[in-house]
């Protein structure tokens, strides 16, 4: 593993589009070559070196490349977009679209992130020590094929519209979630350790949602069917089990309809 350290020394006046800050783009490049990679501030294209000092060369492949981002990256978007392997560590806050369309590898953000992070994720891990904005692990605008796989773990709270059109993978939120969780989901698992505000599982076809706290305003399309004991993210607990959304179509497997499941901790 080789480490490339980017230190923000000349922060952008607008926001910086950093979709080229990935192990895939850095692999096989020297520090000087990495400093020449394109980033965009608004519509103006500049070399990465205009904003960052670059230390260290990339590894031979993405999997052998680690990127560490230092300095104020709170106006930096799209880091790790579409990455397939390797590692990114952001030592503070970052802006929107971190880890969007990620296929593999790992991103660790030590601060907070804004909206659209882990969008349409297919694989890999996105770890956020702070809180996340809206549309965490959601589908891109208009798209009905949302998160397919991978893990998103947020230590703090998440905004609204988490996991829209989720098809697979796992999202774990340490704090609370705002409205709209797993809307239109057809698979995947969302675990909320705190409370959920409401509209949880609206138009959900399939998939699982665990809420350790309360759902402030549960939807009428879910029906209580019993109690279960399960181990969820290392915690063994009893949950009330609801199925739904009964207003939505549901596939039939082995003669039985498949529903979305909501579990709330007793």
């Amino acid at each position: 593993m080789k480490t490339v350290t980017l230190t923000m020394t000349n922060p952008p006046e607008l926001y910086l589009e950093g979709q080229n800050i990935t192990p895939d783009a850095f692999a096989g490049k020297t520090a000087a070559e990495i400093a020449a990679i394109d980033v965009w501030e608004g519509k103006l294209k500049s070399p990465l070196g205009k904003y960052f000092t670059v230390e260290g060369n990339g590894g031979a492949t993405a999997a052998e490349t680690r990127i560490i981002l230092r300095g104020d990256c709170s106006r930096l978007k799209r880091v790790g977009q579409q990455m397939t392997a390797g590692e990114i560590v952001i030592e503070g806050d970052a802006d929107m679209y971190i880890g969007g369309w990620m296929k593999g590898g790992k991103i660790h953000v030590k601060g907070n992130v804004d909206s659209f992070c882990g969008l349409a994720m297919e694989g890999g891990e996105l770890i956020i020590d702070g809180k996340a904005g809206h549309h965490l692990g959601s589908s891109p605008r208009g798209e009905w094929r949302g998160m397919q796989g991978g893990l998103i773990r947020v230590a703090g709270s998440a905004g609204n519209d988490t996991a829209t059109f989720m098809n697979g993978g796992t999202i774990i939120i340490g704090g609370d979630a705002d409205i709209h969780v797993s809307t239109h989901a057809e698979g995947g698992t969302v675990i909320i350790k705190g409370n959920a505000k409401g509209r949880v599982g609206g138009q959900m076809v399939k998939g699982d949602i665990y809420v350790f706290g309360q759902i402030e305003n549960p939807l009428p399309g879910f029906k209580q069917v019993g109690e279960v004991e399960q181990e969820v993210d290392g915690v063994k607990a009893r949950f009330i089990h609801y199925i739904g959304d009964l207003g939505e179509r549901h596939p039939v497997s082995k003669g039985k309809p498949v529903y979305g499941n909501i579990y709330t901790r007793i």
């Binding site: 891109p140 605008r141 208009g142 798209e143 009905w144 179509r249």
Partner: protein
């Protein structure tokens, strides 16, 4: 004075019967001229290459409100597909491209004329605004008549002269080109949650059948002598077993002969026939009935068709056939847009994935190709994908490659999950026919131009015609072994001249010569009754004022008017 000489190309012009002869084409001031008329021409060396007239698309949904609904509700259609500004204007989208991309992509393929397949009359200003914004290619747009209250009321009483006067008025009000009919009666029935599933299924509240609408509009069209014929999207699109309804629709043209001064020989154009040539009575036993349908077309020369070829892409369906889109939404559970256009029509939009893993999709793929390959008259059988319904128009080069190469068809069929069942349900595997470039020129230039009644200007290379000329890096004496090379050559033409201006070179758009809007202005005798009917309908039913309905002159971009005078 600009003079150009395209030297030594293999020229294909079915309108003049030129079959790949090595010859020069001369251009002067935007028109094709005799070579002797040139004095000091610039030359374009076309040796070893194919020279044809610019392509003509008889049926494509590229401009207007429902196309724009598709653009708006499918932002994912642009995702990661729109990174570049290659030309003057930004390009974006795949199945529902931006207006700019549509114009550039048609030009890159060597096309110069595109007939917008469905214009909701009430929204004609939007259609014309998008025509203005679609660079390079000339556009016409067909207002829809098949569910229009005026049309239904006149034809119920067989008032052909009144319907003709109304038609002439609406063509002028919308700056329209021809009579389009979509699911006659069925779209009006959709206002009540119903449909007309065959040509004898009566339209609720109008006491008329689709058969009477179709026949009445054919009579109206020939009474007026319009350049194009009635352009029909038959009832019961897309359903198993619909080929009998299609044959019933086509039979309505029997006994009618074309009356016009534009060289048109058909009275009915049946569009995207692929969607209308199905057997079986469920998705389980869904099968091709293309041979039955094309046999009928082969033996009735007053009908033309376009195929509506499925391209096996993720695309966006959009049609004035409102009930069909609702039906499709229930099949694939994807998002759906639906709208009613008061007194006139409706529309629906649903994304659709034609997957090589789905049996119905691969049978549909075969049906379109069967129609073309079993056709006995390619001057009456045209290439289309009903863009974007069966696939985006940028796949025309691929469709043509399938038509020209059995190996290309076989290579595609190898990707099918249900290959055996597709072969069993269609005749595609028994067809070895490979079309040549002359036949392709018939299906993409000469044929559609003639059927649209514009073959005095477009679709050929005779002196006096517009100098719209496409040159492809294809040598008919030495065609590439690899069919993908054919597709590549047709996707990015070596050169396109639009009105004599070198517009595309090696697949790159160089310049944007001014495009035109082609419309048909019909002079009819004064008709006090129709004028009163229009006045009263606007007073009683429309939510807009009659004075605000007709297209304002400033919406019309660079018009080319085709005049028809029925008063003499």
């Amino acid at each position: 004075m600009s003079e150009l000489l395209i030297k030594n190309g293999f020229v294909f012009d079915p309108l003049q019967g030129i079959r790949g002869d090595r010859m020069d084409i001369a251009v002067k001031d935007g028109r094709i001229v005799e070579t002797s008329a040139l004095q000091h021409p610039e030359t374009i060396d076309a040796s070893g290459m194919t020279v044809m007239a610019g392509g003509i698309d008889i049926h494509s949904h590229v401009v207007g409100p429902k196309v724009n609904v598709g653009r708006l509700f499918r932002p994912e259609d642009k995702l990661f597909k729109s990174p570049l500004k290659r030309c003057n204007r930004m390009e974006m989208g795949f199945s529902v491209p931006s207006t700019f991309k549509a114009g550039y992509d048609y030009a890159r393929m060597g096309y110069v004329f595109v007939n917008e397949a469905a214009m909701p009359p009430l929204h004609s200003p939007h259609v014309h605004e998008e025509i203005r914004d679609t660079p390079i290619i000339d556009n016409a747009a067909m207002p829809v008549f098949g569910n229009n209250w005026f049309t239904l009321e006149y034809l119920k009483n067989h008032e052909i002269e009144n319907n003709a006067a109304y038609t002439a008025w609406l063509l002028r009000a919308t700056r329209g080109f021809a009579i389009k009919v979509v699911n006659p009666g069925g779209t009006e029935a959709w206002g009540w949650g119903l449909n007309c599933e065959n040509v004898h299924d009566p339209v609720p509240y109008f006491e008329i059948t689709p058969a009477e609408i179709i026949a009445g509009l054919i009579e109206t069209n020939e009474h007026l002598g319009l350049p194009h014929s009635v352009h029909l999207h038959c009832n019961n699109l897309g359903n198993p077993g619909n080929y009998t309804d299609t044959l019933d629709s086509l039979k309505l043209a029997e006994g009618y002969t074309p009356k016009n001064n534009f060289g048109r020989e058909q009275v009915l154009h049946a569009t995207h026939l692929q969607f209308h040539s199905y057997g079986g009575d469920s998705w389980g036993n869904f099968e091709s009935r293309a041979p039955d349908v094309i046999d009928y077309v082969n033996s009735h020369d007053n009908i033309t068709i376009d195929i509506g070829q499925v391209t096996l892409d993720e695309t966006t369906t959009m049609t004035a056939d409102g009930p069909f889109e609702h039906h499709l939404r229930a099949l694939n559970n994807l998002k759906w847009a639906n709208t009613d256009v008061e007194l006139e029509t409706a529309a629906g939009v649903v994304p659709y994935i034609y997957s090589p893993k789905v049996k119905v999709c691969t049978i549909q793929w075969a049906v379109g190709l069967e129609l073309a390959l079993l056709s006995k008259d390619l001057m009456r059988t045209f290439v289309s994908t009903d863009h974007p319904n069966a696939g985006p128009f940028i796949r025309y080069p691929r469709v043509i490659t399938w038509l020209m190469s059995r190996a290309a068809r076989d290579a595609t069929m190898k990707t099918f999950k249900w290959l055996e069942r597709t072969i069993d349900a269609t005749s595609i595997d028994g067809i070895d026919r490979e079309l040549d470039l002359y036949e392709i020129a018939q299906m993409t230039r000469a044929g559609p131009a003639k059927a649209l009644g514009i073959s005095n200007t477009y679709g050929g290379l005779a002196p006096g015609m517009d100098a719209d000329i496409a040159i492809y890096a294809l040598n008919p004496e030495n065609m590439p072994e690899n069919p993908e090379e054919i597709e590549k050559a047709l996707s990015r033409c070596a050169c396109l001249l639009k009105d004599g201006v070198v517009t595309v070179r090696d697949g790159e758009v160089l310049t944007e010569p001014p495009k035109r809007t082609v419309w048909v202005d019909v002079k009819v005798p004064e008709n006090a009754q129709v004028q009163r009917d229009i006045y009263e309908h606007f007073l009683r039913y429309y939510s807009v004022n009659l004075g605000n309905y007709s297209l304002f002159e400033e919406h019309l971009f660079n018009p080319r008017v085709i005049e028809v005078d029925t008063t003499q």
